[in-house]
């Protein structure tokens, strides 16, 4: 369910930005991981729920997090609040099937930086990442 590794730099020595993917669907996690085309992003872990995400976050200190909202144990909104409290500079992209704007606004209010609706195309995902990396 979860992985973690300590690689922090790419072959070219450029400092990579550490990415954590949080989603309760393993298919979705793989999809996000494979579809993003940013060399500077280094996947440091994937988590299937908020509790696991928090634990991995403390261990790997990521710069970027993609966050599902509907998850067992601890939902995305709660998780965002906790992550931002731990590291205010973290950039969080919410990727959720919840289509109502109130949820998106609440996530933004809690500290998310972007919002992407499921289902999404590869292009939409990369655009959302690009916006986050700006």
């Amino acid at each position: 369910m979860s992985t973690a590794n300590g690689t922090m730099t790419r072959g070219n020595g450029k400092r990579a930005l550490k990415l954590l993917i949080v989603d309760d669907s393993s298919i979705m996690r793989r999809r996000i991981e494979r579809s993003q085309q940013f060399e500077e992003l280094e996947l440091v872990g994937t988590a299937g729920d908020g509790v696991q995400a928090l634990e991995l976050f403390r261990r790997t200190d990521p710069d970027l997090v993609t966050m599902d909202l509907t998850m067992p144990q601890m939902d995305g909104i709660e998780c965002i609040s906790r992550l931002v409290a731990l590291k205010p500079a973290v950039r969080i992209l919410v990727i959720s099937a919840l289509a109502d704007k109130a949820t998106a606004i609440e996530a933004m209010e809690k500290g998310a930086n972007g919002f992407l609706h499921k289902p999404f195309t590869d292009r939409q995902l990369n655009e959302a990442f690009a916006e986050l990396l700006r």
Binding site: A102, A104, I105, E106, M108, E109, N113, G114, F115, E131
Partner: protein, 713 residues
């Protein structure tokens, strides 16, 4: 005039700097003028002094002459000496003053001074004489005293020197005067030039002031025009525009469209929350305010914010001024106005998108209709054309019947209720067949009509007007039925041309109720595909698993075809909803996962026998009684007193159903009573036997075709 701010500022700075430079130049001119004037005054004073002093050398020479004459004549010389003293002292003093007092630099003056200083040794002994020049004796009268003689010699020498030098000194003093006059003239010329420069500078200053004034008035004019244009734009633009400040309050400038949209005018300084509070639900308002707060942050970019705008389509109801209320759809758009220190304002535009929303809705509806038609067509492609035509004929008859029932005059409540029951049965029958053929577009419409009848049944008092909406719905249904028939006609053509193997479709297959055409013949219609399709749909819809076995249906006489079909359809629905248990339940009861529903039609004596059997849950008498009590068909006392046979009879009562929820397949209570009525009308019999947990079996006996009473299918 349309100057950009920076250009105008640059112009003002240039003009301002020019003015300052001009003012400085003016100061310089005045200062120089003052200096020149001072110099001129000194020159003029020197000129006057020099002019006055010109006469002095001659005068001194004269006075020395006079003094010598006096001494020679032994006359009184005191006065002459005093005059000489005064003249010498004055010349000396004036010259000294001229040389030191004024700032005159003149070689002529220097020479005059030099010469005057040469006067000194000869004239000083004369003027410093203070003794008695004469001695008086009686013998010789007055004679020069010893010191008188010395004095006389001094006077003579001085007189000689003065006579020789008077002209020179005078000439030099005249030269000094001439020099000073020239100097004064030059200074005057300079002053004149300077004054001209001053006048020029003044003129320039005046021009600059005039330019300033002109520019200012031009700017004021431009500003006034711009203001007027802004006002015109705000007055005529169709969107509502305003700026929000950091306190989420509306600014003082806003477009008139807002008044039309919100029916108020007090926007300036109004908090956005106060504007929206009566128009939107509290939850939406709270979301909207959170959203607007986010706009002031630096986290969200424009396109994301646009996509999560909770006010992008706001439904509001407003007083329309004629006593009613109008529903409008407003679209709020927010754009951040950036200043040097981040977000300065948020520009809010409000558009009335009511017509667009309604148009989109219409479009959506027509798209849904179109896709429903496609679905219907696809559904029809799976239906045998013969069956389809047969169904359309039957349903047409049914719909006409419904129309007739609706037109029937009724006054009493009982009559109205009878109408409702009749409508219910007809509708239910059509719905059953439509869903058996998977013609869901028709089934759903009939279901909606059934709903209306159901609502009316609940009403305490009925009137003729209550039935009016049903007439409208029925018209729609008829139109739809016509379009299905039309499409069916086309499909028949397509299928005919597609496959020559199929026999040409009969234009009007026999109606079940149209007795006499082929009363004793086989129907020729195969019910199996219809019933199998229905069984599949029912299994899918109700998450049941069962197998339908059919036997002898090909032998159903045409006269009974409709009846058999209706009865089997209804019993099949009952079996799927009530009879067959879910796979889990069946497994728990050690039954096979897949249930079995068996239908058999066979000859029996002179008549026919239809057996319908399922291996499901059976019928519980207690459940039947409880449902009948709940539906108020019987009282609790009646229920308690009922024997098994009477209780079983409940399932054939009109309005009976054990289902509380109405669905497409059960719950209305017009199922088995319809079956029983049809059977009775044909002179047949119906029986039911059940073993709870094991099976339910219906047996329908139908008389020989010739013996059947005339009935309505």
């Amino acid at each position: 005039m349309n100057l950009s701010g920076t250009e105008r500022n640059r112009q003002l700075v240039t003009v301002g700097m020019g003015t300052v430079l001009l003012a400085l130049a003016m100061g310089a001119v005045l200062f120089a003028g003052f200096r020149i004037a001072t110099h001129m005054r000194a020159s003029i004073t020197a000129l006057q002094t020099a002019s006055m002093l010109q006469t002095y050398p001659e005068e001194i020479a004269h006075q020395l002459n006079a003094l010598r004459d006096r001494l020679e004549a032994r006359a009184y010389a005191g006065q002459a000496l005093a005059d000489l003293k005064a003249a010498v002292a004055r010349l000396d003093r004036e010259l000294e003053q001229l040389a030191t007092g004024s700032n005159i630099q003149s070689p002529e003056l220097d020479q005059a001074l030099l010469l005057w200083h040469q006067y000194g040794p000869v004239i000083t002994p004369v003027v410093s004489f203070s003794g008695q020049p004469y001695v008086d004796s009686d013998a010789g009268g007055s004679a020069l005293s010893r010191e008188g003689r010395v004095h006389y010699a001094d006077v003579k020498r001085a007189q000689l020197f003065a006579s020789e030098n008077a002209k020179r000194l005078q000439g030099q003093l005249a030269a000094v005067a001439t020099t000073q006059q020239q100097s004064a003239s030059a200074a005057a010329a300079r002053l004149r030039t300077l004054l001209s420069a001053g006048v020029l500078a003044t003129l320039l200053l005046a021009a600059a002031a005039a330019y300033f004034r002109m520019t200012r008035s031009r700017h004021e004019q431009a500003a006034r025009e711009a203001q007027e244009q802004t006002r015109d734009i705000l007055k005529s633009v169709r969107e509502g525009f305003f700026l929000l400040d950091a306190d989420y309050k509306i600014g003082s400038v806003w477009s008139d469209a807002l008044t039309r949209m919100f029916g108020r005018k007090d926007f300036a300084g109004l908090a956005l929350e106060d504007l929206l509070t009566d128009l939107v639900a509290p939850a939406t308002l709270s979301t909207a305010m959170k959203y607007i707060k986010l706009l002031w942050g630096d986290r969200a970019h424009e396109s994301l914010m646009k996509s999560i705008n909770p006010l992008s389509q706001l439904e509001i109801t407003l007083d329309n001024g004629h006593g009613g209320r109008d529903t409008r759809y407003l679209q709020f758009d927010f754009h951040r106005v950036m200043g040097r220190k981040g977000v300065k304002h948020v520009l809010c535009s409000v558009g009335d998108i009511t017509s667009a929303v309604l148009l989109a809705r219409e479009l959506h509806e027509s798209q849904e209709n179109a896709s429903a038609q496609v679905d219907m067509m696809l559904g029809m492609l799976h239906v045998d054309p013969l069956q389809l035509t047969s169904f359309l004929d039957t349903s047409d008859t049914g719909l006409q019947m419904i129309n007739a029932i609706l037109k029937e005059p009724a006054r009493t409540d009982a009559e109205f209720r009878r109408k409702l029951s009749g409508l219910f049965r007809e509708l239910h029958s059509i719905k059953g067949e439509a869903s058996a053929l998977n013609l869901m577009s028709i089934a759903q419409r009939v279901h909606a009509l059934e709903d209306m009848v159901g609502e009316l049944k609940k009403k305490a008092e009925l009137s003729g007007n209550d039935f009016l909406p049903m007439v409208v719905k029925l018209d729609e249904l008829l139109a739809h039925s016509r379009s299905v028939r039309e499409m069916a006609g086309r499909l028949t053509v397509v299928k005919d041309t597609d496959s020559t193997a199929i026999a040409p479709a009969p234009t009007r297959p026999e109606k079940s109720g149209a007795a006499g055409e082929r009363p004793h013949g086989k129907s020729g219609e195969d019910l199996s595909p219809t019933l199998q399709a229905l069984a599949e749909r029912l299994a899918r819809d109700h998450q049941k698993r069962f197998r339908l076995t059919l036997a002898g249906l090909a032998d159903v006489p045409a006269r009974y075809l409709g009846t058999v079909k209706d009865c089997v359809i209804q019993m099949l629905r009952n079996a799927a909803v009530h009879g067959i248990e879910s796979a889990e339940v069946r497994r728990a009861l050690t039954k096979d996962d897949v249930g079995v529903v068996r239908v058999e039609f066979r000859k029996s004596g002179d008549g026919y026998e239809l057996v319908f059997e399922d291996d499901g849950a059976g019928i519980s008498l207690d459940t039947l009684k409880a449902a009948a009590v709940r539906k108020r068909l019987i009282s609790e006392q009646e229920a308690a007193g009922m024997d098994a046979r009477a209780a079983m009879g409940l399932i054939f009562r009109s309005g009976f159903s054990t289902q509380d929820e109405v669905s497409m397949d059960a719950g209305r209570g017009v199922g088995m009573d319809l079956v029983a009525r049809t059977v009775y009308k044909l002179g047949g019999k119906i029986g039911v036997s059940t073993n709870p947990g094991k099976f339910t079996r219906f047996k329908i006996l139908l008389p020989a075709v010739g013996a059947a009473t005339t009935a309505v299918a």
